[in-house]
Structures are given as structure tokens and as C-alpha cells.
């Protein structure tokens, strides 16, 4: 009964779909000056944010940037030291129950009780949300099928692999059909197949059900399908925008070189082109407007065993360029 109420409320709140202009639709998530200190440590400085209903929003940043703390404040689990946040139009401090009724949260760490079976875990949740027995049985069937866990439903979670636990956690997060779903590193520790499956599910959730997704991830290439991403660093948002726009702003082409001696290679590239390249994971790379103009300068390198790749800038390039991690690759300055 409660679930039905929340569904209709969702329709009333956001009659238009995501394509509607930002101005006319109440934001699904809004934060202004949201910050949190731990003693004298400033975990989150001031977050200003607006996420539209039905948007797939990526919240990226290095470890310690304040992503998890921000999610905890947005989901009413942590009180902000300053600022305020509204979720589905409800204030996190004034109406935490209203907020919790409209959201689902998938935490970075598991929430499952390993002594209970998959089905018992899910039933516990549906009952906490006040779903009727029949409704809860129906939804549990549905999500278990969706995540291919139906045949393990009566086994204890203790026997599940990390990927299965994660999938079950995600199933738990969407069980009550929240209109806004928060995910803190949903694919952490999963193998590529599992990650793909979960992302496919999330995309469908967003495009078909109109669920607003707010997620953090370390796998930056995964954030590409996000409608918009915000990159946070040191408790502040440093850049917000569509991934494609962000990448374009960075430059047109990315040149990557690798060899057995990346240090020497980086030095050589700097000497030949005058650009200080970025050296990460043994790959020397830099971003240019026009690769054709730079490539000839790199010709001397062909005598060595160097692998050259020409790619588009990735979200990771954007990330590195704006976060504190990018201090050695000031591609933007050039």
C-alpha cells in the first residue's frame, strides 16, 4: 500500500519525463552548501548539486574526496555540519522518513545478513518497507529472476560469491522500487562480466522505469553512460557536465605511447614535442588538439620498440586533469 502511494507520488511529482527542461521540474536531488566536518577534519567542504528526475548521475572523485560522506548525508544517515539537501522535494533533516521512503541505497559495503538465505534477506527488507506478504513475494521472485539468483534463493548468503552478494545487495536496493537510487561503488570488486550485467540493469532501470540514479564509481570508463557527471575533489565539486562535453573540452585527441622504459620515454616525448606528458601505469600520454601536427615530431621514437596509440580523451583524462591527482599532467595549461 505504501509502495503504491510512493509510485503515484512519483508520477504527480514529475509529470514530465527527463527530457523536460530543468527549470520546470523539481530536482530529484538538490544540495546547497552541503558540508560535513569530523572534528577539525573537513570531509566535505560545500557541495552544490542538482540532479533531475530520471537522470543518471555520476559522482566521481579520488578516494577521500568526500563521496561516501556526501551520499550518507543525502540518504539521511549522517547529519550535515552545514548546508541542506532535498531529496524528492523533502528535506533530509526535516523529513528523513519521507526521504527514506523515496530512496534506495546500495552501500559500498554489504548490508546482507549472511546467516539468512537470499530470500529471507529480501523478505526482511520488504517487511521493513511495509509491503504486504503477497506483494513482497511477487517482487522477491521478480528481482531474484532478474539477477539470476532464483535457484539459490534458499541458500544462505554466507555461501554466495562476492559477485552474487553484490547482485543481491542491488536487488535489495531496488526491491521497494525507489524513485531515486543511490549507489556507492556498485561494481567494486566484481569481475567484468558481473560489472557489465549490473550496468546493463542500471541503465535499464534509468531509461525504462525513470529511476534517478546517483552513483559513485572508481571505474571511470563505466561512468561514460551517465547523463552527467560531477567530479569532486577535496569536498567540493570541481566540474559538472555531460561526459562527452567534458571530454571535448579537454582536447580532441589523446596520444598514448608505451615502451619497456616509460620514464625514458616520457623524457624523450617532452624533449621532442615540448609537451610534458602524463605518465600513468607505464603509459605515456598527452592530449592535443590536432594529432597530425604532433605525430611527425614523434617519428624518432619509431626506431625504438615503442607502441603508439591514437585515442579520444577518456573520462579518466578529465578526471586526472581536474583532481589533485592530475598535478603532474597539466594538459589543460598547454
Amino acid at each position: 500500500m505504501r509502495a503504491e502511494r510512493s509510485c503515484t507520488a512519483r508520477r504527480d511529482l514529475w509529470p514530465d519525463d527527463t527530457s523536460a527542461s530543468t527549470m520546470t521540474v523539481a530536482p530529484a536531488i538538490a544540495a546547497s552548501g552541503l558540508g560535513r566536518d569530523y572534528g577539525s577534519l573537513r570531509a566535505v567542504d560545500a557541495i552544490d548539486l542538482e540532479v533531475r528526475p530520471g537522470e543518471f548521475f555520476g559522482f566521481l572523485g579520488p578516494n577521500g574526496a568526500g563521496k561516501t560522506t556526501t551520499i550518507r548525508m543525502l540518504t539521511t544517515l549522517l547529519q550535515p555540519s552545514r548546508g541542506s539537501a532535498q531529496i524528492a522535494g523533502k528535506d533530509t533533516l526535516a523529513d528523513p522518513l519521507g526521504v527514506r521512503r523515496s530512496i534506495g541505497v546500495v552501500f559500498q559495503e554489504t548490508t546482507l545478513d549472511v546467516d539468512l538465505t537470499a530470500q529471507e534477506n529480501l523478505r526482511y527488507c520488504t517487511r521493513l518497507y511495509g509491503l504486504s506478504r503477497s506483494e513482497s513475494a511477487r517482487r522477491i521472485d521478480e528481482v531474484l529472476r532478474l539477477f539470476a539468483l532464483s535457484d539459490r534463493r534458499h541458500e544462505r548468503v554466507r555461501t554466495f560469491s562476492g559477485g552474487m552478494r553484490r547482485a543481491l545487495d542491488l536487488a535489495r536496493g531496488v526491491l521497494h522500487r525507489p524513485s531515486i537510487l543511490f549507489l556507492d561503488e556498485p561494481t567494486l570488486g566484481l569481475d567484468p562480466t558481473q560489472r557489465r550485467r549490473i550496468w546493463a540493469f542500471l541503465r535499464r532501470l534509468c531509461s525504462e522505469d525513470g529511476t534517478t540514479l546517483f552513483l559513485t564509481t572508481h571505474y571511470l570508463e563505466e561512468a561514460d553512460p551517465c547523463d552527467r557527471v560531477a567530479i569532486v575533489d577535496r569536498g567540493r565539486i570541481v566540474v559538472v557536465g555531460e561526459p562527452t562535453v567534458l571530454k571535448r573540452a579537454l582536447g580532441k585527441e589523446s596520444i598514448e605511447l608505451s615502451s619497456a622504459e616509460p620514464d625514458a620515454l616520457a623524457a624523450q616525448v617532452a624533449r621532442l614535442t615540448g609537451i610534458t606528458p602524463r605518465l600513468r601505469n607505464g603509459v605515456v600520454s598527452f592530449i592535443v588538439e590536432d594529432a597530425a601536427a604532433v605525430m611527425p615530431l614523434l617519428l624518432p621514437l619509431t626506431e625504438q620498440d615503442v607502441e603508439v596509440r591514437l585515442t579520444r580523451p577518456t573520462l579518466e583524462d578529465v578526471f586526472v586533469s581536474v583532481t589533485s591527482d592530475g598535478e603532474r599532467a597539466d594538459v589543460l595549461g598547454d
Binding site: 557541495i47 552544490d48 552501500f107 517487511r127 535489495r172 559538472v240 601505469n281 589543460l332 595549461g333
Partner: protein, 346 residues
């Protein structure tokens, strides 16, 4: 609300039956005390009137069952928090008070259930209470379970990890048990201990349970110290008080959130209290000062980021040839920061 409480109770019971060690110790511990301590003391303490020492001990055994059962429930709440399942409860649309009450109720019911398993001991030990007295005993068990459960919740709200449980056992549970009249009439304890005896909730639970069991049988020096009415008054008000305190302690959303922060910075514990970048650039906001963009098309890029390169070049690099994917997943190590603490080290 009711469904949520029911869900919490069901979960606690399912867990109870799944944990075989807990199930076993539920049976073993009280019987061990009754048989070993009971038999041993019986030799030393001569039977008074018509009451044998084991009969005298029985209410104390019930108190012990309740004490361990409720404290293990409190422990389960702490471990729920440590290992995550409490988040399911915290993120559900329930007031914190309902969450606390649900936990208290499930602990109470589990306590009554476990104590009820030992009811046959009454007849095995040769006591023949009336039906009314048995009902009275059940009521006493319920009230005692409630008091101890709410006490457990107060403890659970403050215990950070289940490792602290040993401390609870040594410094709370055993003193409570020994100071109550469970093993011997507490009135025989020296005068300086009497304030502690009176402050011990278990004193009143044992007293209240002894009334229906030994009514009409006990000789003067083994008699209960208080009237049932007084016991009930003390226990009922203590339950209300402790539940209120537990709700207050758990109710601070902030406190709960804080407990959840398993990897969050804890000021004053390892690492500098002030983030290094703040220390190095006093007064200067760490990031570009433009307001954050909120409209979808707006893109803001700090054009210049003048930063002193930190550390030697080679210090931050990875092994050559490391695959891109592995590198991204290994990022936490690269930032060398736990969520908080120092963000940029090296």
C-alpha cells in the same frame, strides 16, 4: 510499524536457530550452573526448612538465562552494525525509535522463549507451584527480559565492536549476577556492597521470580527482600527509563551515521587532524572558487592549476606494462588515502 517490528523479531529468531553454538550454550550454561554449582553449594549450605539449595537457585538460573540471552542480542546488534545488516534497518522508512523498540522487543521475546525452555525444571526440582504462580513467574520473566533487553540496547548503542563484549561480560554481567540474590541471599553480603546490590536490576528480577516459586516454602533468612509490588515498580520504571535512554542514544541520526562510518576519519586517531592540503595552503580554498555548475550543459574547467609537483617523479609511478584496467581498480592504493585522513600523501 507493526510489520517492521515483526520482521526484526522473525529475523532474530531465525538467526538464533541457525547459530548452533549459541543454541547449545543456551542449554549447557544454565544446566552446568544448576548441576555443578547447585550440587556443590548444597553440600556447604544446609537446606533451610523445606527448600533445597537447587530450588533456591532456580530463579537465579532463569535470571542467568535472561542475562545471557539479552546480552547476546545486544551483541548481535553490535555485530549487525559492524558487518552491515543494520543498514537495512537504518535506511528503511522507520523512525529510529521504532528500530530501537523492535530490537528491544525481539530481544525480550527471545529471552522469554529461552527461559521458558527451562520451565520443566520447576517440577524436576520438586516444586509444585499453582497454575497462578506459574503465570506469575511468566510475567516476572517477561518483565525481567524487558529490563535486561533495554539495558542491552543502551550498551549496544555505545559499543563499537563485538570485541568489547568480553569487557561487558567481566565488568557488568558477572558482577550483576553475583550481586543479585541469584546464588545466595544478597542481604548476607557486607554492608558496603549493599548500595551495589540495590542498584543491580538483577536483584529485583531474581526477587520477583522467587516469590511465586518459593511462596509458602521459604524460611525467614532465605526470603525475598522486597515485595513483588516493589519489584514490579522498580523493573517497570527501569524498563521505561532504559528504553528511553536507548532511543535517545540510538536516535541521534548523527551518532548512527557515525557508527556506520567504518572507514571514515576518526579525528585524533592516526593521521593529522587537519588535512595536509589545508595545512600547506592556509586560508586558500583548495579548489577553484567558481560556483559549481548545476545546469547540464555548463562545463567548468579550472584552466590553470598551479601546483607544486609533489615528490620525485618516480615516486608516483606504477610498474610499466600494468594493464589499464588493473590500474584503475588499484586506484585506492595510488591515492594512498582512506576515505578521509590524509588525502594526498607521499
Amino acid at each position: 510499524m507493526f510489520w517492521a517490528i515483526e520482521a526484526v523479531v522473525i529475523r532474530e529468531f531465525v538467526r538464533f536457530f541457525r547459530q548452533h553454538g549459541r543454541l547449545l550454550s543456551t542449554f549447557a550454561r544454565p544446566l552446568l550452573w544448576l548441576i555443578v554449582i547447585g550440587s556443590g553449594f548444597e553440600r556447604v549450605i544446609p537446606s533451610e526448612g523445606t527448600v533445597s539449595y537447587k530450588q533456591f537457585l532456580l530463579p537465579g538460573i532463569y535470571a542467568m538465562v535472561l542475562l545471557f540471552s539479552t546480552m547476546l542480542c545486544a551483541l548481535a546488534t553490535v555485530s549487525d552494525r559492524e558487518f552491515g545488516p543494520i543498514r537495512m534497518l537504518l535506511i528503511a522508512p522507520l523512525p529510529r525509535s521504532v528500530a530501537v523498540i523492535a530490537k528491544t522487543i525481539s530481544s525480550t521475546l527471545l529471552g522469554i522463549f529461552q527461559a521458558a525452555l527451562f520451565l520443566p525444571l520447576i517440577w524436576i526440582l520438586g516444586l509444585r507451584p499453582s497454575a497462578g504462580a506459574v503465570l506469575e513467574l511468566l510475567g516476572a520473566l517477561a518483565l525481567s527480559a524487558l529490563v535486561l533487553s533495554s539495558l542491552g540496547m543502551v550498551l549496544a548503542s555505545r559499543l563499537r565492536s563485538i570485541e568489547n563484549f568480553a569487557g561487558v561480560m567481566n565488568f557488568l554481567m558477572f558482577p550483576m549476577f553475583f550481586l543479585s540474590s541469584a546464588l545466595y541471599p544478597a542481604s548476607t553480603l557486607p554492608g558496603f556492597l549493599q548500595p551495589l546490590v540495590r542498584a543491580d536490576p538483577l536483584t529485583y528480577t531474581v526477587d520477583l521470580m522467587r516469590h511465586p516459586l518459593l511462596r509458602g516454602l521459604y524460611p525467614a533468612n532465605l526470603s525475598s527482600d522486597y515485595t513483588p509490588r516493589f519489584d514490579i515498580l522498580v523493573l517497570a520504571s527501569l524498563s521505561v527509563l532504559l528504553t528511553g535512554v536507548a532511543i535517545l542514544l540510538f536516535g541521534e541520526e548523527d551518532h548512527l551515521g557515525r557508527i556506520l562510518l567504518t572507514e571514515a576519519p576518526r579525528p585524533g586517531r592516526g593521521g593529522p587532524a587537519v588535512p595536509p592540503q589545508e595545512a600547506s595552503t592556509p586560508g586558500i580554498p583548495p579548489v577553484a572558487s567558481e560556483p559549481a555548475a548545476t545546469s547540464p550543459s555548463a562545463v567548468e574547467m579550472p584552466r590553470t592549476r598551479t601546483r607544486i609537483p609533489s615528490g620525485a617523479a618516480s615516486g608516483q609511478e606504477r610498474l610499466p606494462g600494468a594493464p589499464e584496467k588493473a590500474a584503475t581498480s588499484a586506484r585506492p592504493a595510488e591515492y594512498s588515502a582512506d576515505e578521509g585522513g590524509s588525502m594526498i600523501v607521499k
